[in-house]
Amino acid sequence: MRKAISVLLIIGLLSGCSNYRELNEVGLIIAIGIDLPEERESGYRVTYQVINPSYFSQNGSGSLPVINYTVEAETFIEAYRMASVIIPRENRVTHLSLIIIGEALARAGMGLIFDVFERGESRSTFPVFIARDSTAEEVLGVVEPLESNPTKSIISTSENNQKMYAISEAIPIYRAISLLSGEGQNLMLSGVKLSQPLKSENQTANLQNIKPSVVEVSGLAMFKKDQLAGWFDGKFARTAHLITSAVESTSFPLACKGNKNITITTQGIKSDIKTELKPEPALIVNAKIRGNVTELECYLEISNNEEMIKLEKKFEKEAENQIRETITKAQELEADVFGFGKELSKDDPEYWKRHEKEWNTLFSNAEIDVNVEANISNSGMLTDPFKLQ
């Protein structure tokens, strides 16, 4: 009897641990877009992308996979709670997997907006992107045919590009926070935009178009503190990632004759950056690149070792130039997005302490010393190309 009573008591007390929610009572938010408000002075315009489960069930054709709900409010939590005025189910952020920030908001300064994501019950491993030249609301508003929902298409386009060319890199929110709060390195976030504006409001029309409006990764946003300062584009974005060793594989066309090119596909890139004082700071990049010849447009006897060494030298020079140009671009904006300052603060903390405040100026005036060591190891299934007769 006493046993039974104590068991009942324990069960009663344990009921506080319950967190019971049926699957068909929750609205799963998979992405959040944040923009400057349109209807109010301050606060945010937040777009919640919520999964529409009935689309995925057997008889769910006709609806769309996700529904976007846009709310404006003073703060995030306010918006999250306010969203209940339009979202019919209890919204949950446990599966949140993407944050998009509108360019206008990023330029105005993001402040501490990531705080709420680390503080709350969502994971903090999902990536953050900037909606380039547009709003987050717009970027999240397109369903493209190849992926089941906009969130997935943004993430997978970015991941795919990171693997194939490396303009884009998915920066998880915890890294963005540590870059924003750390010293000596500024934040870089990848940009996304729509490849073309939606032709009609009707999403199914887009799905049936052979050349639909899709998500496009575009450039790399450089931040000064929490404000977007400028963009790296195309090749420069790729090279910026090369400097931070974030490139898996990419391609380098080298001019050979006229407007013909030799293309080197890189396999492994490892670069070291540091700042030397001589006595003014100099930015040093030592990169090691391994690559293969994957395309030859002009006749070159690459079976000849000397030709190969010449090619490697050419490749090194090209890479060095690109790295130099990319750093120069960052210097123009006084945004040390590669972490030269961070390296300096580790190597010479005393100097760093004295010059921390003026680092941006020091950075933009610093000399650049780039040293690339290239190694071309393979030329595919062919050695010399065929000859045109």
Binding site: N19, E22, V26, H95
Partner: protein, 493 residues
């Protein structure tokens, strides 16, 4: 069934007529009681009594009746005072004795022996003509193996003992027969290996068996329930097997077997939890394969207990732990289901239990019909109609199939019971509940003992040398030593 029954003691009288009357009275003038009256020379009246159907008629005729009739014809001059002794000399059955205690005589008569009464002698001659009908030795139905011995126990005690004797031809094999059940007076054989089995455990088992005080024993479970250490536990504390090879192997490990007349299941004790995951086939196949299969079995035991509870905890409490893509699929499936997840799960679990129970009892001829109805209605129509989600059907089916991998039905029943506790705990507080119940079960397992031997050994208390034949089975050179749990007296080093 378990009521006590007492009979008063009485002695055999000198008068044959009176004795027959007494016997008829005792047996309620039963129609299968056969009495044959004889006159032995001038020495007087005699009667040969047996019960039809349980005696060996051939043996009765050849070994009892014929010698006695021949004796009468010879009309030898015998001193009447020694007639019973003379008769025992001429009767040629292997087992013969003189009794004068009525209850004992009646017991023997009911056991299939023939009773010979002679006028003027207050003694009954008991001739062993017992022949109990039994089926022939067939393949065991509960613990089948692909490779290995195919014979199984029958309902006949002496056949069963012979199956073990033929495997262990050793003078150290001890077989002690006793009777239990105040009404049924069932023969019970206690088997062990002298010198291997622990003496204290043997003494304890004998003591417990001698203290059994119930009316009837019709199956090993009657004995098991009467002598087990903890009556409240859901776990089987003794192993039961209808395989003589399993019993022999266990005897050789120092365990004790209890064999009962009338059931093909022998009881093996003490038993450890890990034993219920060991199939006899483990020892008849390559040890690497056996180890793999044993891990599969233990894994499916866990699946059987936990799968539905974990699923329930995930979809009701811990949405964040499900990968997003799977989450979307599950949400899509749950969209149209009208019941809460717990109701849905219990519906399907119970439906399966009903099907399973029906499967045992339904006539074989309509088996296919029931399985089609079960598969189609539960598997397909219920999902299509939106009663339950497809995921639940998958979970319940996985649970059901995994329960059939275990070689012992008793442990499956334990898992079945615990599964429902886990489901309720999961619905209540999610993983926290599952872990809480798991801890309680582990504590309970650690507290259990089977005839004084820790049930959860060799894991707790840890016995390193026995771990070689627990979750996995090592090759035979490392299994030369006997398990340390059940025999302490005769260790092989």
């Amino acid at each position: 069934m378990f009521r006590k029954h007492h009979s008063h003691h009485k002695r055999v009288s000198k008068s044959v007529h009176f004795n027959i009357q007494y016997l008829k009275e005792q047996l309620g003038d039963s129609s299968d009681l056969s009495v044959r009256n004889l006159t032995i020379a001038e020495l007087g009246h005699a009667a040969i009594i047996h019960i039809q159907g349980i005696v060996d008629e051939q043996s009765l005729h050849d070994n009892v009746l014929s010698p006695i009739l021949a004796f009468i014809h010879e009309k030898r001059n015998v001193h009447s005072g020694k007639l019973p002794e003379e008769i025992t000399q001429i009767i040629s059955v292997p087992k013969i004795k003189l009794l004068n205690d009525w209850p004992e005589v009646v017991d023997n008569l009911l056991g299939g022996d023939t009773v010979i009464l002679i006028e003027g002698h207050p003694e009954a001659i008991i001739a062993g003509t017992k022949k109990i009908q039994s089926r022939s030795i067939t393949e065991p139905t509960t613990q089948t193996v692909i490779k290995g011995p195919k014979d199984g126990f029958t309902e006949n005690l002496s056949t069963n003992i012979s199956l073990i004797r033929s495997r262990i031809q050793n003078n150290k094999l001890r077989i002690e027969q006793t009777k239990a059940g105040t009404v049924t007076k069932t023969n019970i054989g206690i088997l062990y290996m002298e010198g291997i089995a622990d003496k204290d455990i043997v003494r304890e088992v004998k003591l417990r068996v001698s203290k059994i005080d119930i009316d009837s024993i019709l199956d090993t479970n009657y004995v098991e329930e009467a002598i087990k250490d903890n009556r409240k536990t859901i776990f089987p504390l003794f192993q039961s097997s209808e395989r003589p090879d399993v019993v022999s192997a266990n005897l050789l490990e120092g365990k004790i077997a209890i064999i009962i007349q009338g059931t093909p299941f022998a009881l093996i004790l003490p038993a450890l939890l890990i034993q219920f995951f060991q199939s006899p086939e483990d020892y008849y196949a390559n040890y690497l394969v056996s180890s793999f299969l044993r891990i599969i079995r233990i894994g499916s035991f866990y699946v059987n207990m936990y799968a539905s509870a974990i699923y329930l905890a995930l979809i009701t409490h811990h949405h964040g732990l499900i990968p997003t893509t799977l989450m979307v699929t599950l949400m899509a499936q749950r969209e149209q289901v009208p019941f809460p997840a717990i109701v849905e799960l219990l519906l399907m679990e119970l439906a399966f239990e009903v099907l399973r129970e029906a499967g045992i009892r339904m006539p074989r001829a309509i088996g296919p019909a029931v399985s089609i109805v079960g598969a189609l209605i539960l598997g397909q129509a219920a999902v299509e109609a939106g009663f339950v989600s497809a995921a639940i059907v998958i979970i319940v089916a996985t649970t059901a199939i995994s329960s059939f991998t275990l070689p012992n039905p008793n442990i499956v029943n334990a898992a079945r019971g615990l599964r429902f506790i886990f489901i309720f705990a999961a619905a209540f507080i999610g993983f926290y509940g599952i872990i809480l119940v798991s801890l309680c079960i582990i504590l309970h397992l650690c507290s259990l003992k089977s005839v004084g031997v820790p049930y959860f050994a060799p894991f707790s208390p840890v016995r390193f040398s026995d771990l070689k034949d627990s979750l996995i089975r090592m090759g035979s050179p490392s299994l030369l030593k006997r398990p340390t749990g059940t025999n302490r007296s005769n260790k092989v080093n």
